[in-house]
């Protein structure tokens, strides 16, 4: 039962206020027509699905309705950091 710091509301909120929105940093190809079917599928469906550190997108659904990123351990469920959309994670697996 996660306790999540919303970087926009700037305080901790209960998980019930949030939705997980999948893996973070999956940018929409700038020129979709230039993508092969396989490349498009990679954007659309294929995921790293990390066991351990995972960068993911959440939305403060019943709060400020803003999306933000989170680095979370998918085994211990520890939240290592939250950061705004457009920012890069400080905590990464290769550290």
């Amino acid at each position: 039962m996660h306790y999540i710091y919303c970087p926009h509301c700037e305080e901790y909120r209960e998980e019930e206020e949030f939705h997980a929105a999948g893996e973070a940093h999956i940018a929409r190809p700038l020129d979709p027509e230039a993508c092969t079917d396989a490349e498009w599928a990679d954007f659309l469906y294929f995921r790293t699905n990390s066991r351990g550190l995972h960068h993911e997108l959440w939305v403060h659904a019943t709060g400020c309705r803003k999306f933000f990123n989170m680095t979370r351990d998918t085994v211990t469920y520890e939240i290592k950091e939250v950061y705004k959309v457009g920012e890069q994670p400080q905590v990464t697996a290769d550290q």
Binding site: Y3, P32, D37, V59, Y77
Partner: protein, 1006 residues
Amino acid sequence: MTQKNRLQSGGRVDRSTPLTFSYNGKQYTGYKGDTVASALLANGVDIIGRSFKYSRPRGIVAAGPEEPNAVLQVGATEATQVPNVRATQQELFNGLVCESTNGWPNADFDVMSYIGKAGGSMLTPGFYYKTFMYPQSMWETYEKFIRKAAGLGRSPLENDPDFYDHLNQHADVMIVGAGPAGLAAALSAGRSGARVILADEQSEFGGSLLNSRELIEGRPATEWVASVVAELSELDNVLLLPRSTVNGYHDHNFLTIHQRLTDHVADKAPAGQARQRMHRVRAKWVVLAAGAHERPLVFGNNDVPGCMVASAVSTYINRYGVAPGQDLVVMTTNDFAYQTALDWADSGRNVVAIVDTRPNPNGDRVAAAEKRGLRVIKGAAVIEVQGSKRVSGVSIASIDAKGDKVVGSVERLSCDTVASSGGWSPVVHLSCHTGSRPEWRDDIIGFVPGKTVQKQLTAGGINGSYSLKACLEEGARQGAEAATNAGFEVAAAAVPAVAEVKEGAAMALFHIPHTKPTSRAPKQFVDFQNDVTAAGIELATREGFESIEHVKRYTAMGFGTDQGKLGNINGMAIAAKSTNRTIPETGTTVFRPNYTPITFGAIAGRHCGERFDPKRYSSMHKWHLENGCTFEDVGQWKRPWYFPKAGESMQDALNRECKATRESVGILDASTLGKIDIQGKDAREFLGRVYTNAWAKLAVGKCRYGLMCGEDGMVFDDGVTSALGENHFIMTTTTGGAARVLEWLELYHQTEWPELEVYFNTVTDQWSTMTISGPNARNLLAELTDDIDLSNDNFKFMDWKEGSVAGVPARVFRISFTGELSYEINVQANYGLYVWEKLFEKGAKYDLTPYGTETMHILRAEKGFIIAGQDTDGSVHPYDLGMGWCVSNKKPFSYIGKRGMAREDCVKPNRKQLVGLKTKDPSVVLPEGAQAVKDPNQPIPMTMLGHVTSSYWSANLNRSIAMGFVRGGLERMGESVFYPLADGRVVEAEICSPIFLDPKGERQNV
């Protein structure tokens, strides 16, 4: 009936307040302060139930949540039945009614026991898996008997008359357990000013101190408890929760507490009171002070009533003033149980012997017992119990130093009670809930909480610290540390003086050897509730079930309602020994929530019945109710479905509504459609990216229909969006899709295209929307507006105008989902009902007819308009729907869905495509969901071409109409397909255009 085992004095029961209760139909008396278990023991009740596999008589063995046998059906009425209540935890109240859960005709005399005795030798672990296989057809029959034999209590058959409650709590320090350690922790933390919650499952605080005769500062420990509780209750930053079990410990220090508010008062909660309450706690720091459970030893016939856990015997004597027998034999591997012998002796009963498995025990309690002249037999053990419905004696024998085998001769002692102690198991349960694995410690012969990522501290028995002094010190220290960590600097509370007791070393012994091998010795029980024996565990390992998880699953050890609190460690020890491994090598035992079982109703809380899920209403709902509307659930909304008049069938009503709309004018409450206000200079660009069609040239004052797809190119929503201004649009969505579409827009704006200047706001609830549709729509509207020129030239189809309707400022959209001349009137919701009623005032002369979703569906189907979610299923793109006209691939930006619908499989020929369907027999209405085939006579499995998505009787066309998917359908106009139905009929239908009425669309343009 006299309470023959009740002592003249002593204990915490109130002898001046007798309580009567019934057990298995007999009346008994107990006292205020009793549990059902202590009252039954006081009354000399030995047999509390029957074991489910062997149907052996069972008695009470423990005094707390670890009790495996005393599991009763409680409840005076059908509606208030509660199955599987632990007698050791149920406080006695006047009029309580309880029964044994197993045993027929009754627990005392039980026929099954003979079958148990006869068949018992076959009921080994896994016997289910090894038999009942032949003949195959018989299994269902066998299973009925197996199911009957299983299960404990029964569910009530009437609805629960009580209600339950939730409270969200936030604490700086959450302390679990109000024994010496927990109380000391609460003192430290409480004095710091931190928000503290102290919860304990028992009716009063004090934990083990309530059961012992230890002194604190020279006075009875309970006096110290009282003084601490008094101080804590003075602090308004401290919340004290008795009768409150912390049943679950979840990630990020979220804990659930199950508080029993009225179960000690009566079956049914007093009027207006919640029966139980769940506290949902988010704690900065947690102190686990849950203590430890004593382990019984595993020996022959150790389940005969009269065999108890040593500390439980002391508890019944010291806390309840009950000595559950006359002649006691104590068997122990440690010093603690000597106290039980002393308690027993001091209660005036006879201690036959203390049988100590250690060759030369030393320690203060041993000395005290010997000083008191009690017989202590060293290096020996009780290898077997005599008696069936009550202990009548024991066989004891010397055992070797390792406790592996019997050495020397067997002596018999007669007694009626056997108290055994194999040492203590810390209550590590909660610490396991978040995935932390307990660690074995040889010095305390038990598991303690393992490493955790939670902000958790532990104090007292849970750490294997069993002396009162250690508990108090650890509690005070950890309470202070928790508060300090939570930001409240504080020193540990001073610890009161207690006598130090010297403990001799305990012996690591779990399974008492017998003169015979385990497989042939009398049954030696490990898990009483599931009838798991030492022989069973050895058999499991012999068969190759070596992982402790396999052993548990194969034997069912630990799967009972006590979750193996007494048995698991003994079982692991036996499994370890029989596979020549140490206990830690064998594995650990990980506990999951709940610590003890929790009422479903309490978990559900108030979210039941009409509060299960919100019902959303439009401003006109009251009118709908008053006008006999039948409603349809659409998402959380209650939408008008149809408006039957007296005596009308549904079809009658629909026919009337449909005709009235096409012939005069009908009205629909369309308020539930999602509405999103879009402002910003890039609004147009944004629309162009999320809709499949073009938006660049939509003039202010105009409306346009749009399709929304996912990146996979599949349609997921649709609706009309109107240009209110150059930089201002209002988008409509499906009723069910509103929230999803808004989040979709926000997702793309916030993550992909933040540079676009646009804001989205929901205005679904802001506007009441009423659609008047039909040839008389204009005439009706004209009577209510004087500032809108409704002429066809000025106010064209797909225009919107602002003006007043019935004197209320309105936005009127000339859009049509029925194909008729239609106006969608939007007014601020505060005026919705007013305008609606005005429309009916003026509408009378046009026979203005209210219609609901069903007529709307029929009318739009006559026009071949789709309903997203009914005619789409997430696997169809616009071209499959024959809606290529709604796709613009000239747009510079690659809108969402464009690439997806260009994938190989999406452009291949012969996909399933949406077409109209005319049954050959116009009177036959195809069932929605019917599957099409080319040749109805082909063998099964048949090749299916697609299914019927929408199908109705059209009163206007006086025939049935349908839409559905047919493989390659758009190229197969005029061909026939066949629908083999469940009732054997085969319906032939012709593929046609889905536009059944007014193909040129003239009616909406008049």
